[in-house]
């Protein structure tokens, strides 16, 4: 952050604290300041510090946006339920962002979606599923058989990923809804009103985790979690295999060949270890053999006597 920007942010905070800001909606300006802050160069800071600043700045933008929205709407809230509806939208957005980040698609596909007309939100929506179905059924005669097979396989895997993603998102929507209901009930029966956003988030976390824990314990959630995990792995594995095949075609060693070499090395090392173990026993065996020989000699001598 430049000194200029720092001064500007401090000035803004002071003006707000003193109530001397002139704009009707000054909190929006904060978002702009934070956006500039995020674009600052943090090269002189340790990487960990720079990452935390970036994260907190993003958090500040979201927190300020949500609170500003509440300020604008605060006069319109008639009761707890009214407020909770607005809060639910905020939470749903956070959940969606989290799920999308958690179950990232392979980088190549990510780049494709990023540069196309599609949106990540579209991953869970019907039109994209329909589009994929059309692609699956489309005429691809101008491609080689292998290319046709790869396209069909890749599209099928993406289709399965989408289904799993949709089911997983649906479960999270259900968790959110139940948690919101739980939050509303808690608020209705609480002896003291909530009067800060931090307390509200704390109450929400408790309601959410209670609901989440009970859903995670169900077979349905575990199956859905397994499906999204496996679909995500399968999609990534497919792209890697395709890439490795292409590399092999132009004579470049891929991670598949490297992995095979490592497997052989590992197996050989185990064999060497086993041999070393057996070799280490030889001196002891030799000692035993010598002792046995001398005992036999002794016995022979005794019998000869």
């Amino acid at each position: 952050m430049t000194d200029d920007l720092h001064t500007l942010i401090q000035q803004w905070l002071t003006m707000q604290q003193q109530g001397t800001a002139s704009s009707d909606d000054p909190l929006l300006d904060w978002s702009r300041l934070m956006a500039r802050l995020q674009q600052s160069s943090w090269e002189y800071l340790p990487e960990q510090h720079a990452e935390l600043i970036s994260l907190m700045t993003q958090e500040s933008i979201e927190f300020t946006r949500f609170a500003s929205q509440l300020i604008l709407q605060s006069h319109a809230f008639q009761d707890t339920h009214d407020f909770v509806r607005g809060f639910k939208q905020h939470i749903s957005q956070l959940s969606r962002d989290w799920i999308l980040k958690r179950w990232q698609i392979p980088e190549q596909l990510h780049a494709l979606i990023h540069t196309s007309q599609l949106t990540f939100q579209g991953l869970g929506e019907q039109p994209l599923l329909q589009g994929l179905n059309t692609l699956l059924e489309s005429n691809t005669e101008h491609l080689t058989l292998k290319q046709q097979r790869l396209i069909r396989e890749g599209t099928q895997l993406l289709y399965e990923y989408q289904i799993a993603f949709g089911q997983y998102s649906e479960l999270f929507d259900q968790i959110n809804q139940s948690a919101i209901k739980d939050l509303t009930d808690t608020l209705d029966s609480a002896p003291e009103p909530i009067n800060s956003l931090k307390d509200l988030h704390e109450a929400w976390t408790q309601a959410y985790e209670k609901e989440y824990a009970s859903v995670v314990a169900t077979e349905h959630y575990q199956t859905t979690y397994g499906q999204i995990s496996n679909a995500s792995f399968a999609l990534r594995a497919f792209y890697q295999t395709s890439r490795n095949e292409q590399l092999a075609q132009i004579g470049i060693a891929s991670e598949t060949s490297l992995s095979l070499a490592f497997e052989h090395i590992h197996s050989l090392r185990k064999q060497v270890r086993q041999l070393q173990k057996e070799l280490s026993l030889i001196p002891e065996l030799q000692r035993s053999l010598t002792e046995l020989r001398s005992e036999i000699d002794q016995l022979r001598n005794n019998s000869n006597d």
């Binding site: 905070l13 960990q48 909530i194 931090k198 704390e202 959410y208 397994g226 490297l258």
Partner: protein, 352 residues
């Protein structure tokens, strides 16, 4: 609104406080150098591939204490036991005269993709125990295992009972199918073979995301909201940064070892079913007759107490004892209050 009293002025004030804290945090971070962890001096007395055996020598060795081998999990790094000088179980143990030999598994890379549990437990761990026996000139050592390292320690002791004098397991999963073992339930339908085929070594970041998924709100939204407060002073910032560094310093997991651990322990619970085989040898916990101290944390969201407590009755030990700490999976080690008590329990168990 009857139960939510958030008027415009209160909200504005809260935003300002939050954003002021953010700028204050920036000022604190600007002054702080990169955090240092694991600062207690040690000597590397043995190395095998990427594994190191680190010796921590007390100023004055208490001769009544059995030398202690500490086996940490493959997941995350062992400097959690020596996070900062004020949050160091290792330092607390050294202060009591306990010689410590810590196994550091290192960071597996692509060449370690085929390391399996046989390699880790029967080869590396055994080599470290042998190196400790040589260095300490004793015939038996104490063994302390943390989390997955505790499970390894149980397997190792069952296969090499003559080398271990006393055993301590800390926040150790034993029964992987208890009702409240959320992590175990999460991975129940995960195709582990496909995961290993896809990634080779399992990325540490993937595991971190799975751990965070156990408490998504607390470890996500709420933690981020509290972050400016945690960074508001230099001392709280150092603690926070050290912990963050440790959390995200997660080594990749060797593919084959990960496959076996997930399938044999998490999905098939073979340790409990007495069908676990490592290096062609059946693991029979009844072969363990050493005194066992089983320590667990009542607030542990990763390894629930029910899983650790399942150890009772599975061994032949005539001296099996449990201790419970009112802490979480990590808090038991890093809370200055708990680590002193924990150190006292450990040395109490290692004393002849």
């Amino acid at each position: 609104m009857t139960k939510i009293q958030l008027d415009a002025e209160t909200l504005k004030k809260e935003i300002l406080e939050f954003n002021q804290a953010l700028i204050d945090s920036y000022e604190v971070l600007k002054q702080l150098p990169e955090v240092k962890t694991g600062q207690t001096p040690y000597q590397v007395i043995y190395t095998i591939d990427k594994v190191q055996l680190k010796y921590f020598e007390p100023k004055e060795i208490d001769p009544s204490l059995t030398p202690l081998v500490m086996c940490y999990a493959l997941v995350n790094r062992p400097y959690m036991l020596d996070l900062t000088p004020e949050q160091s179980l290792i330092q607390s143990l050294l202060d009591q005269g306990q010689p410590i030999y810590l196994i550091d598994w290192g960071y597996p890379d692509a060449s370690d993709r085929f390391l399996d549990l046989d390699d880790y437990i029967l080869y590396y761990m055994d080599a470290c125990v042998e190196a400790t026996l040589n260095a300490s000139k004793t015939t038996q050592v104490g063994l302390l295992g943390v989390c997955q390292g505790g499970t390894f320690s149980l397997c190792y002791t069952a296969l090499n009972p003559h080398k271990i004098k006393r055993l301590i397991t800390v926040v150790t999963p034993v029964d992987f199918s208890t009702e409240d073992f959320t992590l175990s339930r999460l991975v129940k339908h995960v195709d582990v073979d496909l995961a290993v085929k896809t990634y080779g070594n399992i990325p540490g970041s993937l595991l971190n995301e799975t751990f965070n998924a156990l408490l998504p709100m607390r470890l996500g939204v709420l933690k981020n909201l509290q972050m400016p407060n945690n960074l508001s002073t230099a001392s709280t910032a150092v603690r926070f940064l050290s912990m963050e560094k440790w959390i995200y310093d997660s080594p990749d997991q060797a593919g084959e070892a990960f496959r076996s651990f997930l399938k044999d322990f998490f999905q098939q619970n073979k340790l409990i079913h007495k069908t676990l085989v490592i290096g062609n040898q059946l693991i029979d916990l009844k072969r363990i007759d050493q005194p066992i101290l089983n320590i667990y944390a009542s607030q542990d969201h990763l390894v629930p107490p029910s899983s650790s407590m399942a150890l009772k009755g599975l061994t032949s030990s005539l001296n099996y004892q449990e201790r419970v700490f009112n802490a979480g999976h990590i808090g038991i080690f890093v809370s200055p209050k708990h680590n002193l008590t924990l150190a006292a329990e450990i040395t109490g168990w290692m004393r002849d």
